[in-house]
Amino acid sequence: MTTSSKAKTDSEWEPRIVAFCCNWCSYAGADLAGTSRIQYPPNARIIRVNCTGRIDTEFILSALDQGADGVLVSGCHPGDCHYTSGNLKLRARWAVMAEAVKQAGIDPRRIRLQWASASEAQIFADGVTKLIEQVKEVGPIGRSWV
């Protein structure tokens, strides 16, 4: 297991964020954030999936386990899923998983589920920013345990 947060002082530390985005809404929203030149912190690395319904709870937990300081899942608004209901399934998974995460003593501020449509570039960017702020409050995942 390699958790490779860099040897930097806490003030230099930048959270590492894994972001799962659905192709149709949030990935497009992130694209729009780019084309609109909305500036937001560069900590997140987006992994594109067709639908948030594709996101297995394991992806999220595994990312945290491997040292992600935060995980973002961003998808279409409930009711607007390109695949009609994938996001509802993810939402239910998320709810249960978030409880488990809390129970396991992981600060829930490390994970964020948000809805951002293809036109909601600002909401997307704000969501990323918000998660990063939250994670910064909590600190690096390796260190917060101490």
Binding site: L61, D65, L90, R93, V96, A98, A100, W145
Partner: protein
């Protein structure tokens, strides 16, 4: 008949139920016992640890290790087994995944001491004993963190049939070929493919005996659990709680898979599902918390605390 195969049975912290189950192969023991030469098994033969220590490395062909390694003694034994045995089998879910003792990781060691010693209802002014006790690790780590495991035979306990199949295969030098199916495969209940509208606790309502329990709202993790049990519980009217852990490859996070499955079955409002699914950690990671992602993070945290 070929020479008996040297075997060793090691026990860590556990309920001993797995070896009990081994004995449950009953008459078939008559086939098995002559074929093996027990080199170490504290429960049934008078071997001491130093006997085990005195064997040449890898002189024992098969080692079964039951339970998990919580104490220093357990860890020593586990490592010793590894040294002496050519094939090391994690025997039972504790040995494979941490099992029920792994649930201790929900709490930290001090809380455990509180429960066990300090606030133990049966004693007054309980104290944590400091003598004649092997050192207790602050956190339960999966056996595989200490040694390489060759074969996993999960189950709480592994069924006698499973044990017999495995042992027979081993003795005949064949690979152990276990069916990969989950519990559902063995479940006789009917599925109607309807989403779950409400999650029920086992005491709620009266379950239709012929219909999929999950569809009726009872959390059954049979679909994410290796069906080596051949559906004992579900066919007897009880939900599967996942004691055999995830199906092969058993590397996937059993609890995570269960949640993904449940979420897909029950696309309910988040508030509702959270309200109705009590204790997700205990529900979905009952038998395999230490090997799960969340469990690993817990271990890391406890280890970090120690440092």
């Amino acid at each position: 008949m070929a020479d008996p195969v040297p075997v060793a049975m090691g026990q860590g912290s556990s309920c001993w139920g797995c070896f009990q189950s081994l004995v449950d192969i009953h008459l078939r023991l008559a086939e098995v016992l002559p074929a093996i030469e027990i080199k170490y098994w504290q429960a049934v033969a008078d071997f001491k640890l130093h006997h085990l220590e005195s064997y040449e490395d890898k002189s024992i062909v098969v080692g079964f290790f039951e339970g998990m390694a919580r104490t220093e003694e357990d860890i020593h034994l586990l490592k010793l087994m590894r040294e002496k045995c050519q094939i090391l089998i994690a025997f039972g879910s504790c040995s494979c995944f941490g099992g029920i003792p792994g649930l201790a990781n929900f709490s930290d060691i001090e809380e455990c001491y509180d429960v066990k010693f300090r606030n133990n209802k049966t004693v007054e002014g309980g104290e944590v004993p400091s003598e004649n006790l092997p050192g207790i690790a602050s956190v339960v780590k999966p056996n595989s963190d200490f040694v390489d495991i060759d074969i996993y035979l999960p189950g709480c306990p592994p069924t006698p049939d499973l044990i017999y199949t495995a042992v027979s295969a081993l003795l005949s030098g064949q690979p152990i070929d276990l069916p990969p199916h989950t519990v559902c495969h063995y479940c006789d209940r009917e599925k109607k493919d309807t989403p779950i509208e409400e999650v029920l606790r086992p005491y709620q309502g009266i379950a239709d005996p012929d219909r999929c329990l999950l569809e009726q709202g009872y959390i059954c993790v049979g679909s994410s659990t290796w069906g080596l049990c051949e559906g004992q519980c579900v066919n007897m009217g009880s939900t599967c709680r996942g004691c055999f852990g995830p199906p092969p490859p058993i590397t996937q996070d059993h609890g995570a898979a269960s949640i993904s499955m449940l979420g897909s079955y029950a696309p309910m409002e988040p508030e509702k599902i959270v309200e109705e699914v009590k204790d997700p950690l205990g529900t979905f990671w009952r038998f395999d918390y230490p090997t799960s992602h969340l469990g690993r993070m817990r271990i890391k945290r406890e280890e970090a605390k120690e440092k």
